[in-house]
C-alpha cells in the first residue's frame, strides 16, 4: 500500500509499507519552500487519480505533480501563504490564502491543467473623426479566477487570518477558521456565511483564545458535525444545534496542529500537537483513550486509511510512523531523511504478501496452460466462465453451451479460471480460505465448493448455511457434469 509523504522543503516521497521499500521520490529540494498543504487531484481523473497531487507552499506556490511520472505538470503563484487546496466538482480548484482570499480556478483539462478559455468581446475604436468605427473582435482568453474575500479590511488590520479551510464531503459548503477567526460555515453557491461559532469565555469570563489550525467534517452527519483543533483544544460543533461547541476537550498544554477522524463506524477522533503528542479520544464522550507514542517533533500530518484501522503520523522528527488505531501499537517506523509535513494514504487495500506470491504462481501456471491450449483448435480457451451461476441453479440451462466444451477437459481449468474471477471479486476472508484449502491439497471438488459458497455468502449472510449449501452444490455439480457429458455426446 502506498503512502505519499510531502516533505517540508520540496522533495516528496512515496513509500510502500508492505514491501518496506520506497517507491518513488519526486520534486526538487529548495530550502526556501515550506510545505503547508498536500492533496490528491480530482476523483474523475480515473483509477490513478492518486498519482496526481497538489502541493501548496508558504510563499504562495501551488504545484501540480504526477508522482508516477515524477513530473511537474503546472505551477501557480497566488502571492500569499496557501492554507488549503480543494479540488471542486470536475474541473475546478479552490485555493485559500492566509489573507482570506479564495480563488476558484476552472480548467479545460484536468490532466494538464489547461486553463479554461472564454471568448471575450473586445471593442476597439478605429479611425479618426467622422470615420470612427467600433470594431468588435472576439478574443479567446483564459478565464479569470473567481475571487472571494472572507476577511474584510478591518479584520485584516486586526491581524485576523484564515488558517484552515475544508470542503464538505458533498461539496456544497465550506468550513473555515483561523487566528481569532471562529469557525464559520459558508455556502459555496450563494457565497454567503450561513453559520459561525461564538467566542467562549472561561470561568473568569475572559475570552478564550481562538486559533483554528485544523478542520474536519465528521462522517454520517450530513455536514452538521464539524471537528476543529483550535489553540490547545479539540472542539466539536453541531451547526444545526447551537453556536457553542457540543464537545470541548484539551489533551495538551501545547497547540493542536492536526486532527483526524476515524472511519465511518468508529468513534475515535485523534489530535496531534506541536510537541509530538498524538492522542485518541472518544467522539461521543470526549474521554481520552490513549496516546500514540513515539513522535518527538511537531506532528504536522495525520491520516487515517478509509477502510483499514491504520493511522499514519508524520512530523519534524523525520520519521513516518504507522499505528494501529485500536491497539495504538506502532506497526512501522520509517526514517525519511527530510522534515515531513503532510501524509496521505492511498485508498486501495493492500494485498497480502503470501497472496501476491500465490497469485504469481497461478499466473505462471495459467500462462503455461494457455500455451498448451493454443495447439488444440477444438477447445476454445475462455478465461471467464459463467459456470458458477449454473452450479448454483439446478436448472439444466443450455445458454452457456460454448463453455461446456472446456469442462470435459480437466477440472484444473475450472480452478484456474475461477480463481481468476475470485481475485477480483472475492473478499479477503474468502481469499484466505481459498489459500488454506489449496495449500492443503484438498480434493478439487472441495475447492470448487468453497468458491461456490463464497458466492452464496453474499446472498444469505449466515455462516450456518454453509454445510447445507455444500451438500446442495455437490449434488448440483454432479448433475452439471453429467449434463455436459451428455451434451458433448450429442455433438
Amino acid at each position: 500500500m502506498n503512502i505519499t509523504v510531502g516533505c517540508l522543503s520540496g522533495l516528496n516521497k512515496v513509500y510502500n509499507i508492505h514491501r518496506g521499500a520506497p517507491v518513488s521520490m519526486f520534486g526538487s529540494l529548495d530550502v526556501n519552500l515550506d510545505l503547508q498543504v498536500m492533496s490528491y487531484g480530482w476523483k474523475n481523473l480515473g483509477d490513478d487519480y492518486e498519482d496526481y497531487l497538489f502541493f501548496g507552499y508558504t510563499n504562495g506556490l501551488v504545484k501540480y505533480y504526477n508522482s508516477k511520472e515524477k513530473s511537474l505538470i503546472r505551477e501557480f503563484n497566488f502571492g500569499s501563504n496557501i492554507r488549503s487546496i480543494e479540488p471542486l466538482g470536475e474541473n475546478r480548484l479552490l485555493v485559500t490564502c492566509i489573507d482570506g482570499s479564495i480563488h476558484i480556478k476552472e480548467f479545460e483539462d484536468i490532466h494538464t491543467l489547461e486553463p479554461k478559455m472564454t471568448i471575450n468581446k473586445v471593442i476597439t475604436t478605429v479611425g479618426q473623426g467622422k470615420k470612427m468605427k467600433q470594431v468588435i473582435t472576439q478574443v479567446k482568453e483564459p478565464k479569470d479566477d473567481e475571487v472571494y474575500h472572507l476577511l474584510n479590511d478591518n479584520e485584516l488590520e486586526r491581524e485576523l487570518s484564515v488558517n484552515a479551510l475544508t470542503l464538505s464531503p458533498d461539496q456544497t459548503v465550506v468550513a473555515f477558521g483561523g487566528k481569532t477567526l471562529n469557525l464559520t460555515v459558508r455556502d459555496m453557491e450563494k457565497q454567503t456565511n450561513t453559520w459561525s461559532a461564538k467566542f467562549q469565555h472561561d470561568f473568569l469570563n475572559l475570552q478564550e483564545p481562538v486559533n483554528v489550525s485544523a478542520i474536519k467534517f465528521l462522517h454520517n452527519t450530513n455536514q452538521q458535525h464539524i471537528l476543529i483543533g483550535s489553540d490547545k483544544k479539540l472542539k466539536i460543533y453541531d451547526t444545526k444545534a447551537k453556536r457553542h461547541p457540543i464537545m470541548d476537550l484539551s489533551f495538551s498544554k501545547y497547540q493542536v496542529k492536526a486532527v483526524a477522524v476515524s472511519q465511518k463506524n468508529e468513534n475515535i477522533i485523534i489530535g496531534s500537537d506541536v510537541v509530538g503528542n498524538v492522542s485518541a479520544h472518544d467522539k461521543r464522550t470526549g474521554r481520552q483513550l490513549g496516546t500514540y507514542k513515539g513522535n518527538t517533533g511537531s506532528v504536522r500530518g495525520l491520516d487515517i486509511h478509509p477502510t483499514l484501522p491504520l493511522l499514519a503520523t508524520v512530523g519534524f522528527d523525520r520519521f513516518l510512523r504507522i499505528f494501529d488505531v485500536g491497539s495504538r501499537k506502532c506497526l512501522h517506523k520509517i526514517f525519511l531523511k527530510q522534515k515531513l509535513s503532510n501524509v496521505l494514504f492511498s485508498r486501495e487495500e493492500p494485498v497480502d504478501k503470501d497472496e501476491q506470491d500465490d497469485n504469481e504462481i497461478w499466473q505462471t501456471m495459467e500462462n503455461n496452460k494457455n500455451s498448451v491450449d493454443q495447439d488444440d483448435d477444438q477447445y476454445e480457451y475462455q478465461p471467464e466462465i459463467t459456470v458458477k451461476e449454473e452450479i448454483n441453479s439446478d436448472d439444466d440451462e443450455q445458454d452457456s453451451s460454448d463453455n461446456d466444451i472446456n469442462d470435459d477437459n480437466e477440472n484444473e481449468d475450472f480452478e484456474f479460471n475461477l480463481k481468476d474471477e475470485d481475485d477480483s471479486d472475492a473478499d479477503s476472508e474468502d481469499k484466505k480460505e481459498l489459500k488454506t484449502k489449496l495449500k492443503s491439497k484438498d480434493n478439487k471438488k472441495r475447492v470448487l465448493v468453497q468458491q461456490q459458497v463464497s458466492k452464496q455468502k453474499e446472498q444469505p449472510p449466515q455462516k450456518k448455511k454453509q454445510t447445507e449449501t455444500n451438500n446442495n452444490t455437490n449434488n448440483s455439480k454432479k448433475k452439471m457434469l453429467l449434463n455436459f457429458k451428455s451434451q458433448l455426446k450429442k455433438k
Partner: protein, 320 residues
Amino acid sequence: MSARLLRMKKDVDTDDYSPSEYKLRRSPNDIKCKSKRMELVGKLMAAKKIAREQSRKLRKKERDNLGDQAPPKQVPRTIESMRRADETVVDKDDGEFDEEINNDEFASYFNGKPPKTCITTNQQSGHEAKNLARMFSKIFPNSGYFNRRTYNLKEIIEFCNNREYTDLVVINETKGKVDELIISHLPNGPTATFRLTSLEFPHEIAGSGKITSHTPELIVNNFTTRLGHTIGRMFASLFPQQPEFHGRRVVTLHNQRDFIFFRQHRYAFESLSKANLHELGPRFTLKLLSLQHGTFNTSSGEYIHIHKHDMDVDRKKFVL
C-alpha cells in the same frame, strides 16, 4: 517457638546440604547484622579479585605463548560501545543528506557570512549571569553583551533582525545560579534550549590562563545523528571562519552521551605528536532540552525535538 518459625526451619533443613555447606551458601542478604554482613562481603570481594587477577595472568600467558596467532584482545563493553543503532545517523556518502545539510539555515555562514552575536541574560539577573555573559562576548568574536532590561525575547529578536544580527544568545539563571542557555539563529533559524551545568569560572580553575583576543580554532566532536548535525552546525556558525593559528587558541565542544562539554585551551606543541594544553576560560556542560523550528516562540512554535522523560528510560539510546 511459634508454629510458623518451626515450619520455616523445616523448609530450610534439606537433606541435600550439610550444615557447613549451608553456611558457605549463605548470601550476605541473609545476614541481618551489618558488621557481620560487611565482613562476609569483604571476603567475597577479595576472593573475586583474586580470581580475576589469576584469570588475567592466565590469559596473558596464553597470549604470549600464541604470539601472533593470539586472538584479539577483549574490549570492555561501555555504554557508548553498546549504543542503540540509530537510523538517523548521517552517512557521509548519502547524496540527499549532503544536499539538505549543505543548504540548511546555516549555509550562509559556511559560504562566508561572518557571525554577529547578541548576548544577553534574563530579566533582573544576578552577577553570575552577567559575568558569564561578559565572558561570552570575549569568546565569540564580533559579539556584544547587552543589558536585558524589560524587553520580551520576541521584541529583542525583532531589534536584532533590524540590525542584522545572526545569532542571539540568552543566559538564564534561577536563584543566582546560571542554569539555561538559549541560542537562537536569527533570520528564521532554529532555537535551541540547553540546560547549563557544572559551570566553573576561570578564577575557580587552578592554573588557568588568560583569554587572548585571537580568533580561536573550533573542535566540534561526535555529533553523529541528523539532529546532532543541526546542533553542531549551530555552534559552528557562532564562531569565526578564519582562525588565527598563531594565537594557538582552541574551543572544544565535545558531545558524549548527549552531554556537550565546552572547554577552552591554549596549546603548545612539544613535539610533532604531542601538544601541551593550558586551560583558560569558563568550562561548562550543556544538555539539549529542545530544538524549535523558527525563532524563539514558546506559545505557538513548532518543535523539532523536545526532551521527554520517556527518552531517559533507555540508558543506551542517545539523540545527538
